[in-house]
């Protein structure tokens, strides 16, 4: 910084450079979001055009909060998020520790990690739909081989097994991402820490518990936050695998929202649900920001 003039010019350039991108974000994201909020106070049902269209105050929200289907979808979404992300964390951690130690076939391992991540969610769902097909899928074939009764083999016909298929698809597709994040975290842990621990006579298990896991916490936190936010908006798996069925047993918030808008054409009610989902994810994002802030501060201190 040479003179007092420079920061001012720098600031002007900074705003000028960021302005186009921020303007576009405001136009394509914030403006529609404002429209969603406005729509959520309207009655607008395209399929029933004779019905009064216009301001109805909080009626959509009242209907939403007394709708058991909404509460059921919320419970499903939370259950799905906790179970899938939890499984992905445990399996991802085990895979990352194994790959980190094994150091074999690294190119192939990297491809194995990236390929499920890189394909569209619905493409993964379609592959699994084929694997669980009751007539010629491999998984029901395995179940037949194990001697399970015929009715158990139609996996998507029962709520519990339908959820198992949805969660398995998600775990298959996203554990690699988790593994990747944790591997990156493992690679930045200095090797001399382990050497020092070995000199002090620590067992491998002690080294893992006292060195690896604590130093992996930031990577775990970031991966968890990303995956949780994604899992909470789960839509593609549900659409491609079960269509929300059997009945409404596998409906999630995003799926219910999509159905309300594009199937039932209820734009007011659908928008109210959108606003609720948005507020939930905003709360989560702010929590994320504060967690990241804490993490950065923690790093500075150490």
């Amino acid at each position: 910084m040479k003179s007092g003039q420079l920061p001012f010019r720098e600031a002007r350039w900074g705003y000028l450079l960021a302005a186009p991108a921020l303007l576009v974000i405001a136009l394509v994201a914030l403006y529609p979001l404002g429209c969603t909020l406005w729509l959520s106070f309207q009655q607008k049902i395209i399929k029933l055009p004779w019905l009064h269209t216009g301001w109805v105050g909080l009626a959509n929200y009242r209907e939403l909060f007394t709708d058991t289907r909404f509460w059921q979808a919320l419970a499903h979404t939370v259950m799905f998020t906790v179970v899938s992300v939890g499984l992905e964390l445990v399996l991802g951690l085990l895979a990352a520790l194994a790959i980190h130690r094994a150091r074999i076939l690294t190119g192939l391992t990297r491809a194995a990690v990236l390929l499920p991540w890189a394909i569209p969610t619905v493409v993964a769902a379609v592959m699994w739909l084929f694997l669980v097909n009751p007539a010629f899928g491999l998984i029901p074939m395995g179940l037949r081989f194990l001697g399970l009764p015929e009715t158990c083999q139609v996996l998507l016909a029962h709520p519990a097994s339908a959820w198992a298929v949805i969660i398995a698809t998600d775990v298959w597709k996203n554990t690699p991402f988790m593994t990747l994040m944790l591997l990156a975290g493992l690679q930045v842990i200095p090797v001399d820490l382990y050497e020092a621990a070995a000199l002090d006579g620590a067992s491998r298990w002690q080294a893992c518990r006292r060195i690896t896991l604590p130093l992996l916490v930031p990577a775990i936190l970031v991966a968890l936050i990303f995956r949780t936010a994604q899992a909470f908006m789960v839509f593609g798996h549900i659409y491609a695998l079960t269509g929300g069925g059997p009945g409404t047993a596998t409906e999630t918030l995003a799926f219910l929202n999509y159905q309300a808008i594009l199937n039932d054409m209820r734009f007011g009610y659908g928008s109210a649900l959108s606003v609720v989902i948005f507020l939930g994810s905003l709360a989560f994002a702010l929590f994320y920001l504060s967690a990241m802030g804490l993490q950065v501060k923690g790093e500075e201190r150490s």
């Binding site: 969603t36 959108s274 702010l286």
Partner: protein, 273 residues
């Protein structure tokens, strides 16, 4: 020590097998004639191989249109994002000004934004302006998640650039444009390239907007087209699996060639963020 070494290798091999198996099975099944595909206990290898499913998706379903749509939409969205994102990220990574952390925080919040929250007004808008089934109806909403991602990644990459080199070039007598062109740009290019790949993959994979804002077969992108292959009564599994194979092969090639870059992008965005 020896025993744990074996288990670690076994776990790694199992992980690789589990990751690849569904792809492998999809590929094999897409080459089977219908009689073997729909058999109760299907044979492992197709005997004989048939290209019928591939012929059908390209000649009967005109799947190439869907591939073209995906390429155009994801390509255009990536282009816009990288152009606007580079400018913003340059400012955010290099210049000092007030409100920078607020802007970055805002970008992060927008990137965690649920896409379904803007479907209803956009649908009404696109319906009114007759934009349903056009490229614009997908490119615009794709910017909502792709642009924050691009800015975030590029900011992380640009922060790692040793800017002193540019200043050194200036001191050696190079003009600002020449210093930028000959010193900064080559340093920034790998980060920009990596960001472009990741943005393209995210746009390529998008499903919700593509489902909501297209209504006919010819305007659908790949993920929506594959899901829509199924009719009410019949599911053309052979064609679905052939389409999955067709779109997965280029992705697999991309991943094999660019794996280091993709991984650096994914982890830069998260770990160092």
């Amino acid at each position: 020590m020896k025993r744990s070494g074996v288990s670690v290798h076994l776990a790694t091999v199992l992980f690789i097998l589990l990751s690849f198996f569904p792809f492998f099975w999809t590929l094999l099944s897409s080459l089977k004639p219908a009689s073997q595909l729909f058999q109760i206990n299907p044979p492992f290898w197709p005997q004989p191989c048939t290209w019928e499913n591939y012929r059908a998706i390209f000649l009967e379903r005109r799947f190439y249109l869907n591939i073209l749509n995906s390429v155009v939409v994801a390509g255009a969205a990536t282009g816009v994002c990288v152009a606007l994102g580079s400018l913003a990220a340059y400012g955010l990574a290099r210049l000092r000004f007030r409100g920078k952390s607020i802007i970055l925080g805002f970008i992060l919040v927008v990137s965690l934004f649920p896409p379904v929250a803007i479907v209803s007004p956009l649908f009404l808008l696109f319906e009114k302006t007759r934009l349903i089934n056009t490229y614009l109806a997908l490119i615009l909403p794709y910017l909502t998640f792709a642009l924050p991602l691009t800015i975030w990644l590029l900011t992380v990459f640009f922060r790692q650039i040793p800017w002193e080199l540019e200043e050194a070039a200036r001191l050696d007598g190079a003009g600002p444009l020449r210093a930028f062109w000959e010193v900064t740009l080559p340093l920034a290019a790998p980060g920009i390239f990596t960001t472009a790949i990741l943005t393209f993959i995210y746009c390529w994979n998008e499903f919700l907007f593509a489902l909501a804002f297209t209504t006919n077969d010819a305007s659908r992108t790949i993920p929506v087209a594959i899901v829509m292959f199924s009719g009410y009564h019949t599911v053309p599994w052979g064609q679905i699996l052939a389409a999955v194979t067709v779109v997965t092969v280029p992705v697999a090639a991309l991943v094999l060639v660019l794996q280091r870059r993709i991984i650096s992008g994914l982890t830069a965005g998260a770990i160092k963020g």
